[in-house]
Assembly symmetry: C2
Homo-oligomer: 171 residues x 2
């Protein structure tokens, strides 16, 4: 996210720096707008298409698979993930905006798990936040291994991890 | 890691920029030296003390717990993790150095799991690399939630995740 500057964007889209500044205001505003735009894109790619699947486990698995494919696609990655360690120790408006979107996404996962319980696809006794935590961990290691280590099989590892995770929670 | 510059370090330790440059050479060399120094510190804190535990699961769990405590300590975090999304799309000497240390660490985890199999604490049939992947994922989400979201209970969530993970692999 730090790579996004008024000057850099002006160069890229062939506008003057003052033109970009007039549109977005400060660099903070530009970075916040980027996070908002990315989050809208993210919800569209991951959530909107998954909602076509039946409520409960089929939808939860579809969300996970689309999310996994997004973060492991070469040259894409996920701004919500890459910005996390960039801003975790930098208090301010960007960090607050990032926390807002990450928390909103964790709530969507919470909802999908809760619906799986309501559909009797997962037992009532499970700790939903713990499952969100572990699901998210699989996506983070996928993002890490696919992008840093270029591991060829990390997408299938993430999917295998989800399968084992859900089986372990179902029993 | 990108925050580490010849000028910044010179300021911090009260040396001239040319003095720091004479010692470390280029900024790339300085960042590589930082990764090497951190990895030595990391091995000391996480691995050396865990090796005092008996071979097998007790040692594997000790490694995980020390690692988990390190990455979730306020103001510390882990350079190997925070640098991963910083350099995953920037080919070059720093990325290569980072990959070297991350891979070396994954090999240590592999060894600890293999020893757990040899001690009959885990079944022979498990996919060791898959378990390394999932273990690492728990640490990444801990790093994420403890540092970005300041979740109070993420350390206990990571430890609960490990317990469930090992139980699921043991059966």
């Amino acid at each position: 996210l730090d790579g996004i500057t008024i000057g850099g964007l002006a160069d890229k889209i062939g506008m003057s720096k003052s033109g970009v500044f007039a549109h977005f205001g400060s660099r903070d505003d530009l970075q916040k707008a980027t996070l908002r735009a990315y989050s809208a894109y993210f919800a569209d790619v991951v959530l909107r298409t998954a909602i076509a699947e039946p409520r409960g486990l089929p939808r939860l698995v579809a969300i996970f698979n689309r999310w996994a494919e997004l973060v492991s696609t070469e040259g894409k990655g996920c701004i919500l993930i890459s910005s996390a360690s960039e801003f975790d120790d930098r208090p301010g408006a960007i960090r607050d905006e990032l926390i807002y979107w990450v928390t909103a996404w964790q709530k969507e996962l919470y909802t999908a798990i809760m619906q799986s319980i309501q559909c009797h696809h997962l037992p009532e006794t499970i700790d939903i936040e713990q499952l969100v935590f572990e699901l998210y961990g699989l996506i983070l290691i996928l993002h890490h291994d696919a992008r840093l280590l270029r591991s060829a099989n990390s997408l299938s590892r993430a999917k295998a991890g989800l399968k084992r995770l859900l089986a372990s929670y179902a029993s």
